[in-house]
């Protein structure tokens, strides 16, 4: 291993020991890319210089951790997933008197509001509670506020329609200057909370867990750990949805899930 790789591993180790954030089982190439971007933006020349700065100054660490753990998404990302969710899963969830959902790694919240809209349109939202969690506090804050740039709404509206939505999408938000704010009625049944999939435990039992484009950032070991966490957090016959390039291949619980929609990566816990 070259010196740069050693310095990189030491950086992740000391972050884990000092601050309790564990990135050691993240897919390395993406983490490295983000570390390099952070260094370039802050004109830091070498990894050991960065390590010194973030171990000495908690403020620098806060900034670093926000950049390292940020993820981006959009409303109804991959519309066919949401269409399938509406057509295959919501019908079956309707039989429950009370529905609990966990959106794990919710980033800035766009997909959480998408799910709330689906449940509202199917008349289920008033007996649904959505737990939306993320490791990144700044992202969670954005999610909680439910305010997004107006310029993104064209894409979001197109996605909504492709996902089978047939209401005027603009009824779900109010626009002011260059920002839109999603309706309070959607937020009422959402709880936003910090949760770190790498180290935190399960906190409830759910009929549906959605975790999309988060596992791609983990190595196989951590993927397996997190899918186990989801398995334990699902009720019998609970549903699990992932990103369209993700799979249960590296999970030792694979045989306890059956396909609901293989292409859209929607599964049901069978045992």
């Amino acid at each position: 291993m070259d010196t740069e790789n050693i310095a990189f591993k030491e950086l992740l180790d000391s972050i884990r020991l000092v601050y309790g954030y564990d990135f050691t089982d993240y897919a390395e190439a993406s983490v490295k890319r983000r570390v390099n971007n952070f260094m370039a933006n802050h004109k830091i020349e070498a990894i050991d210089q960065l390590a010194k700065m973030i171990l000495k100054d908690e403020k620098v660490f806060e900034e670093f951790i926000q950049e390292l753990s940020v993820t981006v998404t959009e409303m109804f990302r991959d519309p066919p997933f949401y269409k399938s969710l509406r057509e295959t899963v919501l019908k079956r969830l309707a039989t429950y008197p009370f529905i609990k959902i966990w959106v794990a790694g919710c980033a800035t919240g766009e997909e959480v509001y998408s799910i709330a809209i689906l449940f509202k349109e199917e008349g289920l939202l008033n007996r649904t509670l959505i737990y939306a969690t993320d490791i990144n506090q700044k992202s969670l804050q954005t999610a909680k506020e439910g305010m997004y740039p107006l310029e993104n709404m064209k894409q979001h509206t197109a996605n909504y329609q492709k996902a089978g939505g047939n209401q005027p999408f603009s009824e779900y938000y109010t626009a002011k200057y260059n920002t839109v704010m999603f309706d309070k009625s959607l937020k009422q049944n959402i709880v936003f909370a910090p949760h770190n999939l790498a180290v935190d435990k399960s906190f409830n039992e759910f009929q549906l867990i959605i975790c999309r484009n988060v596992l791609i950032y983990f190595n196989q070991k951590l993927q397996n750990h997190v899918i186990n966490l989801f398995y334990e957090s699902l009720c019998p016959f609970g549903f699990f949805g992932m990103g369209n390039k993700e799979s249960l291949l590296f999970s030792d619980k694979q045989q306890f899930f059956e396909d609901v929609d293989r292409k859209q990566k929607i599964f049901m816990k069978t045992k």
Binding site: S30, R33, I216, Y217, Q220, G243, K245
Partner: protein, 189 residues
């Protein structure tokens, strides 16, 4: 890695006009080609497998859209999936990311090239083909700095010269070749 020569992998970046350029290069490769070929072609996010199907129709070598975490193997052409960045890990596996666009692109050529340069160092060949975007220039430079062989398609020949020209202007290209010459060069690896 099974490679017996000097190189372990080839990475190719293409944008506008890429389909026909890729067909020319890949169409010449035998099914038993001795290296993995890893490609970012800028593409619409809705066209899930169209690019792979079109290329496979015209090539003997196996064409495949990358699956997350799969191992990089010789004799396969891997294509980055739409709407994800493609990276190569130091243990010779693929990973994907949903990070923001780089040079207005996801997948981005720079992201693939920079991670491949870190993994394969001097055992890598990087090629920038036709396109109307500057994606790939920084990545090709990273490959060059790591000691790899870097090639830009001749802008006179390229359907869209802007992208290979941007790589050349950055001083990233060791060789400037036509598609025919690129074909010959990689067949002799």
């Amino acid at each position: 890695m099974a490679a017996h020569g000097k190189y372990e992998a080839i990475v190719i970046g293409a944008s506008a006009g890429g389909l026909s350029a890729l067909t020319t290069i890949l169409g010449a490769l035998p099914a038993s080609f001795s290296l993995p070929v890893i490609i970012v072609q800028h593409r619409y996010r809705d066209q899930m497998n169209l690019l792979e199907e079109i290329l496979q129709n015209k090539c003997k070598i196996q064409i495949r859209q990358v699956e997350e975490k799969e191992k990089v193997e010789a004799g396969i052409v891997y294509i980055a999936p739409p709407d994800y960045h493609l990276l190569i890990e130091s243990d010779n596996t693929f990973s994907l990311s949903s990070d923001p666009q780089v040079s207005f692109s996801r997948p981005s050529i720079d992201v693939l090239f920079e991670s491949a340069a870190a993994t394969y160092r001097k055992s890598l060949i990087g090629i920038v083909l036709t396109g109307a975007n500057k994606d790939g220039a920084a990545g090709l430079l990273a490959i060059k700095k790591a000691g790899g062989l870097t090639i830009a398609q001749s802008p006179e020949e390229a359907e869209y010269p802007y992208m290979p020209q941007a790589a050349i202007d950055k001083g990233a290209a060791t060789l400037v070749l036509t598609l025919k010459e690129i074909q010959t060069r990689i067949l002799n690896c």
